[in-house]
């Protein structure tokens, strides 16, 4: 199983390195979308500090969903997906590899940029720490769910919007726990409950989502 996983992972990272601008787009979207909120809500520091965790999470969610749309589309178009499904290993390895690739290219850059966001919204250090840690646990969940959505909506005309509609309700628990953790820390309490729940969510999704994504890939390519 690891052969397929590693082969797909290495190939996709190599492909991304040859299209560096495209790979950076989700990150750029994230920062631009975040910056719109102060323009819409007003520059008052107290308000911004309060809504920051929610905004960051929503923008992370949207950035993930917009970039996951293309996860399988290129491979479907040139016939590579068919070949990958013909590999003598279960398609779960393919689904897992694609989810990891998406996280490395979208989730991880978001996490690395978030301290900068903390400066924009004047978050305190503990709050920022809680935000980053929550994203570390939560962005993989978004990638896993996004891959499932991408597999289900593979090749459809209305793909992007439909994917967002399908995945967002499923992603709300991660959003609630992740953003809630920051609020709890700002109130002076421990957020360990939130992080435990996020961790449990991550484990459950990591076990269930690749299997469902593999099933969806078969359904979409039959």
């Amino acid at each position: 199983m690891t052969e397929l996983f590693v082969a797909v992972l290495v190939r996709d990272l190599r492909l991304a390195s040859r299209r560096r601008i495209d790979a950076l787009l989700p990150l750029v979207f994230f920062i631009v979308a975040l910056s719109l909120f102060p323009l819409g809500v007003g520059p008052e520091a107290q308000t911004l500090r309060q809504i920051a965790p929610g905004i960051v999470w929503v923008c992370a969610l949207l950035a993930s969903m917009l970039s996951v749309n293309q996860l399988f589309a290129g491979d479907l178009a040139d016939g590579s997906l068919e070949q990958m499904l013909l590999a003598p290993q279960p398609a779960v390895a393919l689904a897992a590899a694609k989810s990891v690739v998406h996280w490395l290219l979208t989730g991880l850059p978001l996490i690395l940029v978030t301290p900068l966001v903390g400066v924009l919204f004047d978050l305190s250090a503990p709050a920022l720490g809680a935000l980053v840690f929550g994203l570390v646990l939560g962005t993989p969940v978004l990638s896993l769910l996004g891959a499932l959505g991408a597999a289900l909506t593979l090749g459809l005309r209305s793909g992007g919007m439909l994917l967002i509609l399908i995945v967002l309700p499923l992603a709300t628990p991660a959003l609630i726990f992740g953003a809630g953790a920051v609020g709890t820390v700002e109130a002076g309490l421990s957020a360990s409950g939130h992080f435990s729940l996020l961790g449990a969510l991550l484990i459950a999704t990591a076990i269930g989502a690749p299997w469902a994504t593999a099933a969806a890939l078969r359904i979409s390519t039959e």
């Binding site: 052969e3 397929l4 082969a7 190939r11 190599r14 492909l15 040859r18 299209r19 290129g74 040139d78 016939g79 590579s80 068919e82 070949q83 990958m84 499904l85 013909l86 590999a87 003598p88 290993q89 279960p90 390519t221 039959e222």
Partner: protein, 220 residues
Amino acid sequence: MTPPPAGRSAVLETVDLAGQRGERALFEHLALALEPGTVTWLRGRNGRGKTSLLRVLAGLATPMAGEVLVHGQPQRRADPSWRTDLVYIGHQNALKDDLNSSEALAFLMQLGSVKPEPAQIDAALERLGVLHCRRALVRTLSQGQRRRVALARLALSLDKPLWLLDEPFDALDVDGIHALNALLAEHAARGGATLLTSHQALSLAEPVPRIFDLDRHGHA
């Protein structure tokens, strides 16, 4: 329609196979057997379901009814490892635009659980006459060159018993056809079985291709 008697060692066999497109049946009660050392030419008019049949045989699509047996084992129940014995090349080349020919070929071989040395990759590309393309990005190659790179897989898969090829001769010039014929002959000589479709008449002489006409065999 009585099927031709299958040798006990048929590489692939179908039992009462039926395939569909949407809600309609494309072919029914299909009995096909691929013997080692043979090349079978799957013929039929456009829209008859040749590609669909190939996909079902490869395990990419579920048949409407019936079974596909690989080395006597039902394909559906088998775990996916039987596919190490299979090479399927469809209409599309499955080459990524942003990889060069060597990388693209190496990836496709890795999918089939084969880790070829760079020298072997070069030899395969040479055999199809595209060695000079080995560092060229696939994006920059012509249709014919891409087809040759895709077919170079076969040169590295001569020991895989089952080849399913959909329109392999498409976009090939005379030299390309010659190279592919040589590969098909060598594969058959080693005991492999090939099923292919082609719109043009086959110029393969050794072995003489068997003909399987979907129009005639595909209905009760």
